[in-house]
């Protein structure tokens, strides 16, 4: 039987495509990694996923899982061809079990849709990526994604209680338990979270949820330059406050936000720190005051957002600032390279200074923004994509940013993932731990069919 016939038999004809324009649409995500699949399959159930993987394993066909393809590291790009499994139509919210503080979802559920549903119950799923409106829970877990509120609420791994996973031979396992804690066996849930589809395919997730805070407030602190803002972060966090968000925006990021939504009217300064504190009314007020006093000696101005609507608009715009720098110049487009380094908090000012030097060295404007409260710095470069020399500078600058982060004891990716874009840095960052990863990969996927070429394995 031909491969295509077998795929038709498993999922039905209208869930498989081999048409060239369709394949082309699945040959990339939001990164610069490219690779053409041979088949795109959109399964509808765990059983179908399991059968596809079993079949692919038998014939050694690569299988790359894909959620919404919003990844910034090429994780969902089939660089060795084969099958792309588009899991975004497995998008049912299976159970909202508030009494047990959890929900059960299929992997294709869109992040924002889940939180819309949970809001009714006064709860939320805290990891808060900028791509909330479009990314899937499966992709988020597979990348161990997080976002603006991770400084207080942590990353996806903190919320995954149990995952249903289709392993490379088609076996379906559950990695955890419905309980909020378990120590039974190796932490397979932890292993799967962040494995980028290289060890198994997540077909269901049981996630812990948190109550929505009673109050939230946004505090904006203006600084003359990003380095001073970086010092502001170190000072604020070390004074014992745990804000629910702590974001940095440099001058360019501020301009991009004002271009995206002119109503925001952000001040024209060298850098802004956007803090959020949440909790009960009293705690929020106190937190806001503490932040104000710890920033006051470094900042030129500190103020709180006056209304809830103003805060919400600020966050909405902030979520998409990365892409919004494309708006500043009609001839430039944002390119995601070297965009997600993380450094220890104390090294933030140094990293910011290095980024400025790299920008000067390669003569390429670099915007900085990001979840600075956990040391996660996003760097944004926008180039004329028709100019080869600008591509060259961009790639060199990206490479240097990655290496600098590692030198400072940091990481090449704090949340977006390694995928195909950052595989080459794994040995440098992980050392002998990479061999352990390779052993795990070999043990669980001996034929190397699951998302080959990613994550350094």
């Amino acid at each position: 039987m031909k491969y295509i016939e077998k795929l038709h038999e498993i999922v039905g004809k209208n869930r498989v495509s081999t048409s060239s324009p369709e394949l082309y649409c699945y040959s990339c995500d939001a990164s610069q990694i490219k690779g053409m699949p041979d088949y795109v399959v959109r399964p509808d159930s765990t059983e179908q996923v399991s059968k596809i993987v079993q079949f692919a394993n038998k014939h050694k066909i690569p299988v790359t899982s894909r959620g919404a393809g919003t990844g910034l590291a090429g994780g969902a790009v089939p660089i060795s061809g084969g099958i792309v499994l588009d899991l975004s139509s497995m998008n049912r919210i299976l159970d909202v079990d508030i009494e047990n503080l959890q929900v059960a979802v299929e992997p294709g559920v869109v992040h924002a849709k889940l939180n819309e549903k949970l809001k009714y119950h006064g709860f939320f799923f805290p990891p808060d990526p900028g791509s909330s409106a479009m990314c899937t829970i499966g992709g988020l877990i597979a990348n161990n994604g997080s976002g603006m509120r991770s400084v207080k609420y942590g990353t996806s791994s903190r919320y995954a209680l149990d995952l249903e996973v289709v392993m490379a031979d088609g076996t379906v396992i559950n990695t955890g338990s419905k309980t909020l804690k378990t120590v039974a066996g190796y932490n397979l849930t932890g292993l799967m979270v962040g494995s980028e589809g290289t060890l198994g395919i997540i077909t269901k997730a049981v996630l812990k949820v948190a109550p929505l805070p009673k109050a939230r407030t946004v505090i904006l602190a203006s600084f003359e330059n990003p380095e001073l803002a970086g010092e502001g972060v170190v000072k604020t966090l070390s004074s014992g406050i745990v804000p629910s968000a702590c974001e940095i925006l440099d001058k360019t990021a501020i301009e991009a936000l004002n271009a995206f939504d002119p109503n925001l009217n952000l001040p024209d300064v060298g850098a802004i720190l956007m803090f959020e504190v949440d909790g009960t009314g009293g705690a929020v007020e106190e937190g806001a005051k503490l932040i104000e006093s710890s920033c006051s000696s470094l900042a030129t101005n500190v103020k709180s957002a006056s209304t809830k609507q103003e805060s919400e608009e600020l966050w909405r715009a902030r979520r998409l600032v990365g892409a919004a720098i494309s708006r500043l110049d009609p001839n430039r487009t944002r390119v995601y390279v070297g965009e997600d380094v993380g450094v220890p908090i104390k090294e933030i000012p140094k990293m910011l200074k290095k980024v400025r030097e790299i920008s000067e060295e390669f003569n390429i404007p670099i915007m900085t923004y990001g979840h600075i409260g956990d040391g996660n710095l996003h760097t944004g470069m926008a180039i004329d994509v028709l100019d080869d020399s600008q591509w060259d500078s961009l790639n060199k600058a990206g490479d240097k940013i990655h290496r600098t982060a590692i030198e400072l004891g940091g990481t090449v990716s704090a949340e977006h993932g390694i995928g195909g874009a950052r595989s080459k840095y794994m040995e440098l960052e992980l050392g002998p731990a990479l061999d352990v990863m390779l052993n795990i990969k070999n043990a669980l996927d001996p034929n190397n069919i699951l998302n080959p070429g990613k994550l350094g394995v």
Partner: protein
């Protein structure tokens, strides 16, 4: 750089403005129904790029490009400032120049060329006018441009509109042709029909063209010479609301914003002002800039009626409880929304006004 190189560079740049972030997945009504990447704005941008790099044109390429309703939701939400509907129309145009088109597109062109309307109607456009053809004046300040759908599918709306408008200095074109929208949206040149209309408007000496169709409106605004003002009927009614002698009605309606006057040209307040002068307005779930599309535009209703139908169903599911009518101000939206749910009557704003005048 030659002019054509410059043009092709700017076309390529308009495609490459897309950073593939996928935000449009969350809003594209077609993607929402079909779920394949090629059915969303990001996919269409990728396909436009592949074509510019020499990819062959096959029926899947045409289906991807032609299933876009040009609703503009993607553009509205695109953080990067890309304009997928423009890119898609440009790409359709380039394919048509190479004679690559679907049978439906060819049929549409044939109909407009042969009959002066996309519906292949051979009867008189103004048959609704009856005895009142004497009301057509040779000179006037305003021209009421009726449009094909109103002329042939909703003659009673055409008549009611003209009855209201003719109290002002409004006339009709003696020999109205299709405005060209169906041709332009699907990639064809429409200079022949637009020129016929423009000539007549010039002769009449009108400073303003009034139309009740969102498709005609956007076409007059964007694709006609910048010689006269364009007003949507809802705007004209809102401007003259005190002169209409409206009796309030004890009913509740909801309003569907047509993409091509709403998102495209910001006409949100005028229809609402007219409605609120008559009855209660209970808004739909998504309105104004974020209003979901009816599914009929961009040639989708004629080319892909089933897809268009399911988009209309999704839109009609947003109609709030307890409304007597869904009101809209475009015959295309009205037509398609009526297909989306047969239990809730969909009417034109002008018909609501007529109820309040009686």
């Amino acid at each position: 750089m030659t002019e054509s190189e410059d043009k092709s560079d700017s076309y390529l740049r308009s495609i490459l403005k897309c950073v593939r972030c996928g935000t449009c997945r969350s809003v594209c009504p077609v993607f929402d129904e079909l779920g394949w990447e090629s059915s969303g704005a990001r996919g269409r941008m990728l396909i436009a790029h592949a074509l510019s790099q020499g990819m062959d044109v096959d029926s899947d390429v045409l289906n991807s490009l032609n299933t876009c309703t040009t609703c503009g939701l993607c553009e509205q939400n695109c953080p990067s400032g890309a304009k997928p509907p423009d890119v898609i129309e440009d790409t359709r145009r380039q394919l048509v120049l190479k004679n690559k088109m679907t049978d439906k597109q060819a049929e549409l062109r044939e109909n407009v060329t042969k009959y002066g309307n996309p519906l292949a109607e051979t009867s008189d456009r103004y048959s609704w006018l009856g005895q009142e053809s004497a009301d057509i004046k040779s000179h006037a300040e305003y021209v009421f441009f009726v449009g094909c759908l109103e002329s042939y599918r909703y003659p009673e709306v055409a008549k009611t509109t003209f009855d209201i408008l003719k109290k002002f200095d409004v006339t009709l074109l003696p020999n109205e042709h299709c405005c060209g929208s169906p041709l332009i949206r699907t990639g064809f040149e429409a200079d022949d029909v637009t020129e016929e209309n423009v000539e007549q408007i010039r002769k009449i000496g009108a400073h303003t063209v009034i139309t009740g169709c969102a498709g005609c409106y956007t076409t007059f605004k964007n694709d006609y010479p910048d010689e006269f003002n364009v007003k949507h009927v809802s705007e004209f009614l809102a401007d003259h609301i005190d002169e209409l002698d409206l009796n309030p009605l004890d009913i509740t309606v909801t309003y569907h914003d047509p993409c091509h006057i709403g998102r495209k040209h910001g006409i949100y307040e005028a229809p609402r002002k007219v409605i609120k002068a008559i009855c209660n307005l209970k808004e739909m779930n998504s309105i104004r800039e974020s209003a979901r599309c009816c599914g009929g535009g961009g040639g989708v209703l004629s080319g892909y009626p089933e897809l268009s139908h399911s988009i209309a169903e999704t839109r009609m599911a947003e109609v709030p409880e307890g409304v007597d009518y869904v009101v809209t101000s475009c015959p295309m939206c009205r037509r398609n929304l009526s297909r989306g749910n047969k239990n809730i009557p969909v009417i034109d704003l002008v018909e609501l006004v007529a109820l309040a005048i009686k």
